[in-house]
């Protein structure tokens, strides 16, 4: 992470403020991380290169991977059928290493909207989309997504018509959901590459809609 942020009003390149963890006094938990990492290397459990490779692999995952899957499903009916039948295999088919987790794709239609949460912890399709946003892990989201999901959606700017069925899916450590958003109207002439640009992270969690929808 860059540390020379003095010229940027304390905002990172993504526009977020740097957390004080990056620059502040060494904390107890940071000390523990360094100690664990060094002990594991000293004991021959891991090498520094393995640790860095794992960080790089996680950094390489992003919502763009999921967007590519969604755009393919929008343009390839047979792929869409495979995705809905077995999300893990369909993602692997596109070259995404999603590990042992079971990926379950749930489809938004004209009359059904899907929303994903992990009420017990923070389970998220991280091996496809990267690490979850902070709000996904909060008490507020975890508690209310299953209690008053329409109100939660309104906080995200999605005002779901009353006649649209809302299904909320509670993830587990072994089973991670991803929403297959509905393809926006008027995009018939776009190819998969252009369509993928419409697919936002939140549209695959269900807290958002694709651009243009």
């Amino acid at each position: 992470m860059p540390h020379d942020h003095h010229d940027h009003d304390h905002l990172s390149p993504s526009g977020h403020p740097y957390r004080k963890d990056n620059d502040g006094a060494l904390s107890y938990w940071q000390t523990m991380e360094v100690a664990i990492r060094e002990l594991m290397v000293e004991k021959g459990e891991l090498t520094p290169a393995q640790i860095q490779a794992q960080i790089d692999a996680m950094d390489a995952r992003s919502p763009a991977n999921g967007a590519a899957v969604v755009a393919r499903a929008w343009t390839d009916p047979e792929f869409k059928a495979r995705l809905l039948a077995n999300g893990s295999d369909a993602a692997r088919e596109m070259g995404f290493d999603i590990g042992p987790m079971h990926l379950v794709a749930v489809e938004n239609t004209e009359d059904t909207h899907n929303l994903i949460v992990c009420t017990l912890c923070s389970c998220y399709p991280r091996n496809l989309l990267g690490l979850p946003p902070d709000w996904y892990k909060t008490r507020e989201y975890r508690s209310r997504a299953v209690r008053e999901p329409r109100a939660v959606l309104r906080e995200f700017g999605v005002d779901l018509p009353a006649d649209v069925t809302l299904r909320v899916h509670d993830s587990t450590a072994d089973m991670r959901y991803i929403v297959l958003p509905a393809r926006p109207a008027g995009t018939e002439n776009l190819d998969a590459t252009a369509l993928a640009k419409l697919v936002t992270r939140d549209s695959m969690i269900g807290t958002g809609l694709p651009k243009g929808a």
């Binding site: 523990m32 459990e45 794992q54 017990l120 909060t138 008490r139 209310r144 997504a145 209690r147 450590a173």
Partner: protein, 110 residues
């Protein structure tokens, strides 16, 4: 403190305030914790259930007071000690050694 039918982490359906929308970029130490948690499981020392068990046993106060990766590093440590990867004494000695190197995260890297 704990109702076995509805432990603190089972918060689905509880009343709560507006969803906080602010995010943050992950610090390198957080990314390292994430990597060590994945690799520790790949090495067979614990499972995702072991990770969660330690997180849940920390209790609600830890959830409220510690950041996400602070809780994860504590759970990682608990699981690795239980698996015999290193001892509590070795951890303590190493943490003292690390602390003695400097005052910031960057300064204590070996």
């Amino acid at each position: 403190m704990d109702d076995p039918e509805h432990r603190w982490h089972d918060m689905g359906g509880d009343a709560a305030g507006p969803v906080p929308m602010d995010g943050h970029d992950f610090a390198i130490w957080e990314k390292r914790v994430d990597a060590l948690v994945i690799l520790g499981q790949q090495r067979g020392h614990f499972t995702v259930d072991g990770l969660r068990r330690a997180l849940e046993d920390m209790g609600e106060a830890a959830f409220n007071e510690m950041t996400y990766y602070e809780r994860w590093v504590a759970s990682l440590n608990q699981n690795l000690i239980e698996a015999g990867v290193y001892s509590l004494e070795e951890l303590g000695a190493k943490m003292e050694e690390v602390k003695a190197r400097g005052d910031t995260y960057g300064a204590v890297q070996s």
